[in-house]
Symmetry: C2
Subunit: 428 residues, 2 copies
């Protein structure tokens, strides 16, 4: 069997990992895939730059079309990131009959349907396991492991940077700003951390998870997204005191034909399996009607974990090529669904209010909840240690998002409510 030739777009951290695994595990890969796998060409920005691994000079190119339009190349592995040119390269590669493996969550979240349609048209595989939760094989689990089940909920800690920050804040009582600076110094957070800390990265990954888990088309712009930049150490302290951990959770829910997807800091009951996922680790919790609760845990990023997923996809593509079934097994999205309205999205909420410390205030506040039919699970009133006012901590029973918004709107107009300090979704 002739070797399968791979063109690698990008030789950064993950690209380096792909080269290391393909070369280091060559014999194993050949046993698995039934063919040897050769990295034929590698796109780099600068051929003369010093690198962590040695790649023969004649394999390096600065021209992407050397790979995309190279008739020798069977599979394009894209680890360069970006969505502008990258999209063009991938569409062109597919239209020339090349299979594609990509780690590009932005591209798949924004242009997944277009890319998969092009792949179908030309009989090509497109696999993208590494785009979500690095080394955790969660996409094939959703597509194949749970093909028999109806998944109704997916909750993910899918951004290592924010989980690192929240874990540090929780374990050390540190402030958001201090931990962010430390994370930047350690290379866990970028100098412009917006995409991570504002939940945008997680929203893209949740779009991909929900698309595959619910087998439906999900548009990124329907994902309601809130980051962690306004989380305080006091919030985390309150959460712990009540038996919760504060986590940036992506939550995708499905009920019959309606779905909702959101990303937000969420208080998770500390006995829930996802509550103890700490540091840069990722985890995806999946609830299926038949299988019940499951969770998948591992490294969400990093050179070798991410490359593990890419090369596993590459093995799958090579097997399909050998069996002559390339492009026949791409995941399908056949369910017609609609986005839930805020009236249909239901969860528990935590609220921390600063209120006037005088008779009748609690009654006034609880009447607002009652007026919008939000029932309360627990209420705690105590003096605010810093001001001559009272603190009220409330956890609601399941309530719909629209009703909670109305409660908050009413609070903003009430004199006795000085500040709505925090509002968090509650899970578990």
């Amino acid at each position: 069997m002739k070797p399968i030739k791979v063109g690698l777009l990008g030789l950064g951290t993950v690209g380096t990992g792909v080269v290391r695994i393909v070369e280091g595990h060559q014999e194993d890969l050949q046993n698995q895939a039934g063919s040897s796998i050769v990295i034929e060409k590698v796109l780099v920005q600068n051929k003369t730059k010093a690198r962590a691994i040695s790649v023969p000079q004649e394999k390096l190119t600065e021209d992407p079309w050397d790979i995309i339009r190279n008739p020798e190349i069977d599979v394009v592995v894209e680890v360069m990131g970006g969505i502008g040119n990258t999209r063009d390269y991938i569409l062109e590669a597919l239209s020339l009959g090349k299979h594609v493996v990509t780690a590009n969550k932005d591209l798949m979240a924004l242009h997944g349907p277009e890319i998969l349609a092009k792949a179908r048209e030309h009989g090509c595989d497109v696999l993208y396991e590494a785009s979500v939760a690095g080394g955790i094989p969660i996409l094939r689990t959703l597509v194949e492991g749970f093909s028999s089940d109806r998944i109704t909920k997916i909750m993910g800690i899918v951004n290592g940077t924010t989980n690192y920050i929240l874990t540090k804040m929780s374990q050390e009582g540190a402030s958001y700003g201090d931990v962010l600076k430390e994370a930047q110094a350690l290379g866990y957070a970028e100098s412009d951390p917006t995409s991570d800390v504002e939940g945008l990265d997680a929203a893209r990954k949740m779009t991909i998870l929900a698309t595959l888990g619910f087998r439906t088309h999900v548009s990124l712009d329907t994902v309601s997204t809130q980051g962690i930049s306004s989380v305080t150490k006091e919030d985390i302290l309150y959460a712990k005191r009540l038996g919760y951990e504060l986590k940036l959770l992506g939550i995708a829910e499905r009920q019959d034909d309606s779905i909702s997807i959101s990303v937000q800091p969420t208080m998770v009951k500390s006995t829930h399996p996802i509550a103890s996922v700490n540091g840069v680790f990722n985890a995806v919790y999946v609830y299926g009607e038949a299988v019940g609760e499951t969770m998948f845990y591992g490294a969400g990023a990093g050179e070798l974990p991410t490359a593990t997923s890419i090369v596993a996809d590459l093995v799958a593509v090579v097997k399909n090529i050998k069996l002559g079934v390339g492009g026949k097994k791409n995941a399908l999205t056949y369910n017609e669904t609609r986005q839930k309205t805020d009236e249909e999205i239901s969860s528990k909420y935590f609220l921390l209010l600063h209120v006037a410390d005088r008779a009748g205030v609690l009654a006034q506040i609880t009447q607002v909840f009652a007026a919008f039919e939000v029932s309360l699970q627990s209420v705690l009133q105590q003096p605010n240690p810093n001001n001559p006012e009272a603190e009220i901590i409330i956890i609601t029973h399941d309530a719909n998002k629209a009703a909670v918004a109305k409660v908050l709107e009413t609070f903003h107009k009430l004199d006795v409510v000085h500040t709505v300090k925090s509002v968090y979704r509650v899970e578990g």
Copy 2:
């Protein structure tokens, strides 16, 4: 596309779940698999018995050959258990070109190579995801998700009964005997619990996990197996006090070409992800050289979780039939490995000794460890509350199994050592 016809061997708990999912999710399955899936015949012991689900009388049969030799049937799903007749049925079905999905861990652990060879010979698929850890898709994760990696360690809580018993003992300070009785009353343990509590069930599952994870032939009789029937509530109390949970762990390790597999009650550091897997839940922890730490969590048994895995296998088989690649994708075991000797098996150990309470005893005991080059991580001596003797609690550094056995042998001969109360492997 003509419907794919399934013969179901067995209509107990899991068989009932298979019928429920195939019927309840028919439209979804058709979308996934590209064909409708019909349960054509069901083997039962007694056609007239009342059942939890209604299956048309003409589909029931009491004769297995009605299914095995039925030319209409494309796939045999085996959920009857046992290894004698069942093996004959499956071998015959394969030799007649029928694909097989089975939940039978005993059969696959004991006769896996023979069955897979027969499948290869006749171009048939054999899938058995449900045989290990019920609803957790761990076998396809090992085979496909980590095809690119070299797995060096697999640790599993793969028996729900024993995990339920140990969790109850830990949470309620109850004795083994009392919790076992309760588990039997609740149906979590069988009236003869030997296979579960003595670790035999877990050993079979570890054989399958190690075969697929290490891609080598593993023989069940090389699995060193110890159950939980002699675990005391005091052991669990000591474990907790030192920051550990006591779990029945299957541990499979690989170093280059040597492997070792064992099942034993193990003290797991409470910060390790597998330490917080409680009750009847299962989890499999997988360490790969590239991917690092991962863990997969979910229901290990039960009607619908187990049936989820079986029907997911069925969908995979149907896809393969449609693509004409049946039998081309069975997992391979090409690595030549040998069993590690006791000198090569290394781990930490916990020991609880009752010793004479007089000067020089601790020195005598620590000299024994030193003589066999076992170094100690921590030593605690305290009075035994029940007898005029001392208790010594030791945790070793990594030590080889042979050396620890020699230490214990020496203790049995020493007058000052009254009793070696407990010896446990330590992880994490």
